[in-house]
């Protein structure tokens, strides 16, 4: 369902992704782990085209973007946008729209991107808010919510576009420990419902519980991939072992 081949990305002269390959089935939950600065965020951002890769190809569902470089014409721009619509993104810093209510945040893209009638978009938004346990906050503004609540709204906002894959970039790193569980619970529920997901996280217990596959990233490459049992109990690489040992003592 997701196929990434030889993805290369540099910022100015610094190469950040050194030809990443990745393949993922529908319904598979993948967790990316790895040291800081190894390119995890860059990889996710390339997947939904917030960054444009220099080379390689990305396929999500029935859309493929190849060749790298920014879109050169209307057709390429449209293909880029269609790829984007296949993936929903949840950011570390929530990035809710502060001038819109919770309900409007969730209904915004369905209304204006999918051209859904307002009543229908808001009904769907209410249902999604109920799913993340926030239906009573529909009329509130983001500034009136706790961090955990904001991140759950952000998840509902991404889900509203009915993406084929959900991308999470450290969704709980900006939260106090006591607020993390409510977000992780929602993500776990999504995984159980069979949502295809890629999650960047430092929550090792969570990764172990919910991941189908774990990718260990280092220096802009996938150093090691495998099931949680494999990675956590019998990592092949010394670097992986060292990273996990440090992560568990932290």
């Amino acid at each position: 369902m997701i196929v990434v081949e030889n993805l290369v990305k540099s910022y100015n002269a610094t190469r950040v992704l050194h030809g990443v390959d990745h393949c993922q089935q529908r319904g598979e939950a993948v967790v990316l782990i790895g040291p800081s600065g190894c390119g995890k965020s860059t990889f996710l951002r390339c997947l939904n085209q917030l960054e444009v890769a220099d080379a390689g190809s990305i396929t999500i569902g029935d859309v493929t973007v190849t060749g790298g470089g920014p879109p050169r014409n209307a057709e390429e721009r449209e293909r880029q946008r269609r790829l984007r619509l296949r993936a929903g993104m949840v950011f570390q810093s929530f990035n809710l729209f502060p001038h819109l209510t919770v309900l409007q945040n969730v209904a915004e893209a369905p209304r204006f991107v999918k051209r859904m009638p307002r009543s229908q978009a808001e009904a769907a938004a209410s249902a999604l808010l109920a799913k993340v346990g926030l239906e009573e906050k529909a009329g509130a503004y983001p500034a009136q919510l706790s961090g955990g609540q904001q991140q759950r709204v952000a998840i509902a906002r991404a889900l509203a576009m009915e993406p084929e894959v959900m991308l999470f970039d450290e969704p709980t790193s900006a939260l106090d420990p006591e607020l993390r569980d409510e977000v992780l619970r929602v993500m776990r529920q999504l995984a159980e419902e069979g949502m295809t997901m890629i999650v960047v996280t430092h929550e090792m217990q969570f990764a172990r519980d919910m991941a189908d596959t774990i990718l260990f990233f280092e220096g802009g490459r996938v150093l090691e991939a495998g099931s949680p049992e494999q990675i956590f109990t019998a990592p092949v690489h010394e670097r992986t072992r060292e990273f996990l040992r440090r992560a568990s003592t932290r």
Binding site: R81, G88, S93, P98, H99, V113, R157
Partner: protein
């Protein structure tokens, strides 16, 4: 807190304004001014060299030097009392107040000997007999006498004899201009059909112009005289003596012939008998406010209309400019940036002159009101564009990325996410600009618009009550601008979605 600060700054500048008016030196502070001048070695004479030919003007051949018949006369006068002449530049319709303030010793600049002027200064015996001349375009059959002017729009120099004459006549739509050239430019631009002006000006500016013609004979003759402060009696006597001598020995005739201004009328100079001056008591406009306040309010109406419409132009144009600058293709970005830099780097006055007097020369003729709105609006548009840019760039990048990730297009992101959030940051600086434009709009009097400050200036020069009228005028400005700033801070608070 910011509100209290704004209020106190407002009242502070108001206080300073009043103090400045009150600190004018009292008249009569110098006993024998002639001796002071002789000790100083310089006779300071006030005149306006802008559009000032043939009276006094920068010599076209040597622009750093002055020329003109009054320039020559001033030199002759100064020589007679044994000093050098030195010109002090001053806007023409403010010459009398400036004399009173002690900016110079005499006025020698086409000032008519009238009862009104004699209220404010002592006038010498006449040095020139002028008359009024009607000027029209060559291609029109214009009126050739005073009665023919009724029902017409007639251009005149502000505070000139022609303006008073026509206002007394009534039934004439009088349009007053800050200088001599501007009325003739508007005549050629077909904004007006007739100009009435002093004959010497007409001889210099209109006669040689093939597009313009004299219509009818000169009429309403009058005298130019030298004005001195009323208490400077010895100076007045010395000037009268000198002028009498110049008339007798032919010095005056020589000067006037050199400038092509000598005519039969000048024979009256020798036979002049001064009329007795009837003293009027000075006016307190504050006590007579029901008479003056409505006039000021009518000017305020123009000020409000100008600044509201001008700001509307600025707000909309500024948005177009900032969008071109931030999101347009490279050439458009460059043009938008150039627009902002050029407009912000040049004076509003020059922009107004170019729009009002310059555009007709390439075939685009706007009336004064439209030109004023356009001038103010396009000028402020550059500021608004910069305000918007600061507002847009203060929106975190994460907002755009979140919207992109949801599949919104560039235009949707701008319209639905970035601009609504930028609005709140932009309201305070835009309100400040609105209030600034409200006050800046007084500059449009240079293109014949009569707004609040112009009305104040006109009333103050005729009543001499700068303080009373000033208090009323300042009160009107404040009463109009303060609610605007209150309204803005309310609006800003209403939009504070993250502090509920």
């Amino acid at each position: 807190m910011s509100n209290a600060w704004r209020l106190s700054r407002g009242s502070f500048s108001f206080l300073v304004f009043v103090l400045l008016l009150a600190s004018r030196p009292p008249p009569g502070f110098c006993a024998d001014h002639l001796q002071t001048i002789q000790a100083r070695g310089e006779l300071l004479w006030g005149a306006d060299a802008e559009g000032g030919a043939p009276y006094v003007y920068p010599d076209p051949q040597k622009p750093e030097q002055m020329a003109g018949f009054e320039f020559d006369l001033a030199n002759a006068l100064a020589a007679r009392i044994g000093v050098k002449a030195k010109m002090v530049q001053n806007q023409w319709d403010q010459l009398l107040p400036a004399l009173d303030r002690g900016n110079f010793d005499i006025i020698l600049n086409g000032l008519e000997i009238t009862a009104d002027n004699r209220q404010h200064a002592a006038m010498s015996r006449p040095y020139y007999v002028y008359a009024q001349q009607i000027v029209t375009r060559t291609d029109t059959m214009g009126p050739s006498d005073l009665d023919g002017l009724k029902g017409k729009t007639v251009g005149v120099l502000a505070s000139s004899a022609a303006q008073r004459l026509l206002q007394r006549l009534g039934a004439v739509d009088v349009k007053s201009y800050p200088g001599n050239v501007e009325s003739l430019l508007d005549l050629k631009a077909r904004r007006i059909d007739v100009v009435v002006l002093d004959l010497p000006i007409a001889l210099y500016y209109a006669k040689p112009d093939p597009a313009l013609k004299f219509s009818g004979e000169p009429f309403s003759p009058g005298y130019y005289g030298v004005a001195v402060r009323k208490e400077d009696l010895s100076l007045l006597a010395a000037i009268n003596q000198a002028l009498e001598q110049f008339i007798r020995d032919g010095t005056l005739e020589r000067i006037y012939r050199r400038h092509g201004l000598w005519d039969d009328r000048q024979a009256a100079l020798a036979a002049y008998q001064p009329e007795a001056v009837v003293q009027r008591k000075s006016i307190s406009t504050l006590r007579e406010w029901p008479k003056y306040l409505p006039l000021l309010l009518r000017g305020a109406l123009t000020t409000v209309a100008l600044s509201v419409l001008g700001m509307a132009v600025a707000v909309v144009t500024g948005l177009v400019v900032v969008l071109a600058r931030l999101y347009g293709p490279p050439l458009m970005r460059w043009l938008a940036q150039a627009y902002v830099e050029v407009v912000r780097g040049t004076p509003l006055l020059i922009q107004l002159f170019m729009i009002y007097y310059g555009l007709p020369q390439i075939g685009l003729r706007l009336n004064a009101f439209l030109a004023g709105i356009l001038g103010l609006g396009l000028n402020y548009a550059a500021n608004e564009a910069e305000n918007y840019r600061a507002g847009i760039q203060s929106i975190p990048k994460g907002q755009t990325e979140a919207a992109q990730a949801l599949g919104m297009t560039q235009a949707q992101i701008l319209r639905r996410i970035v601009l609504p959030q930028a609005l709140r940051f932009v309201i305070p600086p835009v309100t400040n600009d609105f209030i600034a434009m409200f006050k800046d709009s007084s500059i449009v009097s240079v293109i014949t618009l009569v707004e609040l400050t112009k009305v104040y200036g006109e009333l103050a020069t005729s009543t001499y009550d700068y303080i009373g009228l000033g208090l009323m005028t300042a009160g009107i400005y404040f009463a109009l601008s303060y609610p605007a700033s209150i309204f803005a801070s309310r609006l800003e608070r209403r939009l504070a979605y993250d502090r509920r």
